[in-house]
């Protein structure tokens, strides 16, 4: 038996012994999972599952042990993921710490910053948020205006961030600030880590057309941030920021892969539009040929998208250098989600119009809001137009104007 097989057996047994039954059930959204941090409340089972997994470093399987990970090889991490899937286990801990700032610190952070922050992420003690966008800096992110002025061992930071997801629940923020006013716009930017409990930080939630949202505005008024919290070099944060955007796009694409099956357009179409089997067994051919064709088109495009995702992941594992795949995945993944949500409401017909009150099922109300919410997918994390620019320029080599 190979080492990997032994590892698989041991892991399987350990997972089976340690996972509470409630952590072996499917989850409908990321909200049901543990994001860590001091500000959100979680059930006992969720916390127990997080802690036993963190104890073995399995919340961050490939991170080195000294930073709270399990130090697994890629092959071993794959085995762990496979065994977790086989037992239908929920992820013990998720969040921007794992998707964004953690990988970035591993790549670019000083030894001191790694030792300070990574173990807290891996244990779920600290939850992170991202301070990138500003009211005047959306697609043109490098035009950001939040200022950081040096004062001895500190920066004094003032400005406003917007679209900071979960800023109200986060303990720390990684953010971009302008440290040199006179330099060209990409060159005076610094990448900082900031404690959200610092004096001068205030947060206000943003309501969307779909209702409540995790987005916030974050106001920074003379916030003191130690200079040792700079990642990389002062004034040279832009390259780091861009590297992180790649991680973000990949994470977004992954999210759309996970959740699409949950919508069940076929069942919805049979329910609202009827099928050729009249006995309500929930089976049969969808009676409306247009909706049926649209669903098939969507399912085929989704299958192609997943084949592409799988191919890119396989190539990455085989050591082929990644290019700008994350732009394709972000663009197409979000558009698929938008098409699906749109079609869902269209199929529901007048039952897709409910906002609140009687006459609508919970599912119908959710479908309506999900459609509205999905309109933001092609904006957040870099608009579709920016992704198309990236593909045109960096992949296809088309000239700038």
């Amino acid at each position: 038996m190979s080492d990997l097989d032994t590892f698989r057996e041991e892991i399987h047994r350990w997972l089976d012994q340690n996972a509470p039954p409630s952590m072996r059930t499917p989850y409908k959204s990321f909200d049901e999972l543990c994001w860590g941090g001091k500000k959100a409340r979680y059930s006992e089972d969720v916390l127990h599952w997080r802690d036993v997994m963190a104890e073995r470093g399995f919340t961050a399987p490939t991170w080195p042990r000294e930073y709270g990970g399990a130090g697994l090889s890629k092959a071993e991490a794959k085995v762990l993921a496979e065994e977790m899937a086989r037992l239908h286990l929920r992820p013990p801990l998720i969040g921007f710490g794992f998707w964004m700032i953690g990988p970035l610190l591993l790549q670019e952070g000083s030894e001191e910053l790694k030792r300070e922050h990574l173990p807290k992420i891996a244990r779920g003690e600290v939850r992170w948020c991202q301070g990138y966008s500003e009211p005047g800096a959306g697609s043109d992110l490098a035009s950001l205006q939040t200022r950081a002025v040096r004062d001895g061992d500190h920066f004094i930071v003032s400005g406003q961030k917007v679209w900071t997801s979960y800023a109200d629940l986060a303990d720390w923020m990684f953010l971009l600030v302008r440290t040199d006013q006179s330099a060209k716009k990409q060159e005076g930017i610094t990448f900082l880590l900031m404690d959200m409990d610092s004096p001068g930080v205030s947060v206000r939630p943003i309501r969307l057309i779909s209702g409540a949202s995790p987005f916030c505005e974050t106001f920074l008024s003379d916030v003191r941030v130690p200079v040792r919290n700079v990642v990389g070099e002062i004034h040279h944060g832009w390259t780091i920021a861009r590297a992180l955007l790649g991680h973000e796009r990949t994470a977004i694409a992954e999210m759309f892969k996970e959740h699409d099956d949950a919508i069940g357009l076929v069942d919805a179409a049979r329910h609202y539009l009827g099928s050729d089997i009249a006995d309500h067994t929930g089976e049969g051919r969808i009676a409306d040929p247009v909706a049926r064709d649209q669903i098939a088109q969507l399912d085929i495009d989704q299958a192609c998208f997943e084949a592409l995702l799988a191919r890119m992941q396989a190539e990455a594992r085989a050591g082929h250098k990644p290019g700008h795949e994350s732009s394709i995945l972000k663009l197409y993944g979000t558009e698929l989600n938008q098409r699906r949500r749109d079609l869902h409401v269209t199929i529901a017909g007048p039952q897709g119009l409910g906002w609140s009150g009687p006459g609508f099922s919970e599912q119908e109300l959710k479908a309506t809001r999900s459609w509205l919410r999905s309109r933001g997918n092609s904006i957040e994390g870099g608009t579709s137009e920016i992704q198309l620019n990236i593909i045109a320029k960096r992949v296809l080599g088309l000239p700038g104007l």
């Binding site: 969808i286 064709d293 084949a307 799988a310 296809l396 700038g400």
Partner: protein
């Protein structure tokens, strides 16, 4: 399931690309449309020597017995050059039918010769009005003392003009659209006396498509391919297998049409700048690129499904997914290719026309996108 090409497959792809660039210019493709059989016998023999005709043929029949992904990389390169040689009809239609259902004697007689480039095969399954249905068969096979007599008309037989043997679907039982009652026969194409009349039909892509009239041709009982009356099932398997091969060819062709367009965007100057610097065109080019990548991924996955020995339903689903995607993408890439080239793209002199014509024929070969979406939905239970 392997979604990364092996080193061996990459090498095969590179040598196929070298062969096509070195030996098959688009100018050659252009003249082949007008002359002779519509393809080059010389290149055909070279393809046989390179081993391409026997790549997926089982070893017991004298082939290399390799997986479908090997043939995929070759077909993609042939598609890149729009090569009209009848590899797909010979190997993946006629050849695949014989591998699946030919009698031992029939296999022995034809398959090794096929791999050697000495025997051309074709599958005659379409009829006037059959559209994409494989069970719409009115050609009749009447039992006569110890054999069969075939009467009927087959149309648009790919590679049918040059074929030495035609695999013909004919009805031995039932009504014209019944699923059961179709039987396949291996019919020698050059029969003297009352037999097989062939006329070249001109399709817009210029490839060999032949109308075959069967005027009471007689074949022996050993001409039956596969299980009598159940020929439609075998036919379906063969068409699925050929469909993913066609998709591989389409990916190569759309890639080439896109490369040509991209090159034009970088070099054509208007308003004092390359037109590719305009965002309106950049974004459309980026969209085309994504569609091609999706099509390529779908085709690669479909081949992996076949190579993994998946069951019939999984193979059909994969084939329909790939064909629906490729049909739409290839047309879109060539339509946009013409638009982005402007007036020059409309001229007969420019090569974009070769690609858009091929895209239209390929779209409808083995079923267009709407047909495959319907089939995908049916196979998925809705």
């Amino acid at each position: 399931m392997s979604l990364v090409l092996s080193d061996e497959q990459r090498m095969l792809g590179r040598s196929a690309r070298d062969f096509v660039t070195g030996r098959s210019s688009l100018k050659r493709v252009r003249t082949a449309r007008e002359e002779g059989e519509g393809f080059s016998r010389e290149l055909w023999r070279e393809m046989a020597r390179l081993g391409w005709l026997g790549l997926v043929l089982p070893e017991e029949h004298g082939g290399a017995g390799l997986g479908r992904t090997y043939l995929m990389v070759v077909l993609e390169e042939l598609g890149r050059g729009l090569c009209p040689e009848p590899l797909l009809p010979t190997v993946l239609l006629g050849g695949a039918a014989l591998v699946a259902g030919g009698t031992a004697a029939c296999q022995k007689e034809h398959l090794q010769a096929m791999a050697a480039g000495e025997r051309l095969l074709a599958l005659a399954y379409q009829e006037p009005g059959s559209r994409y249905s494989l069970t719409h068969v009115t050609t009749a096979a009447e039992r006569v003392d110890g054999g069969y007599r075939l009467r009927g008309e087959k149309i648009q037989v790919q590679g049918g003009g040059a074929a030495d043997v035609l695999i013909v679907s004919a009805r031995t039982h039932g009504e014209p659209t019944d699923a059961l009652g179709v039987t396949l026969f291996a019919v020698p194409a050059n029969i003297s006396g009352p037999g097989v009349r062939r006329e070249r039909q001109r399709l817009l892509d210029g490839r060999d498509a032949t109308r075959v009239q069967l005027d009471g041709v007689r074949v022996g009982p050993d001409a039956v391919v596969g299980v009598p009356e159940e020929g439609a099932l075998l036919l379906g398997d063969v068409i699925d297998g050929a469909t993913i091969g066609l998709c591989a060819e389409m990916v190569g062709s759309m890639d080439a049409a896109f490369a040509m367009t991209l090159d034009y965007l970088k070099t054509r100057v208007q308003f004092g700048v390359p037109i590719g610097s305009f965002q309106a065109l950049q974004h459309r080019a980026a969209r085309l690129y994504i569609e091609i990548e999706l099509a390529r991924a779908a085709v690669l996955e479909a081949h992996a499904v076949f190579d993994d020995g998946a069951d019939r339903e999984a193979r059909s689903l994969a084939a329909s997914m790939a064909k629906a995607k490729c049909s739409d993408a290839f047309l879109q890439v060539t339509h946009e290719g013409i638009q982005m080239h402007g007036g020059i793209g409309m001229t007969e002199e420019h090569d974009m026309g070769l690609f858009v014509k091929r895209a239209r024929v390929a779209q409808m070969t083995f079923g267009d996108a709407a047909f495959h979406r319907d089939r995908f939905a049916r196979l998925s239970g809705y």
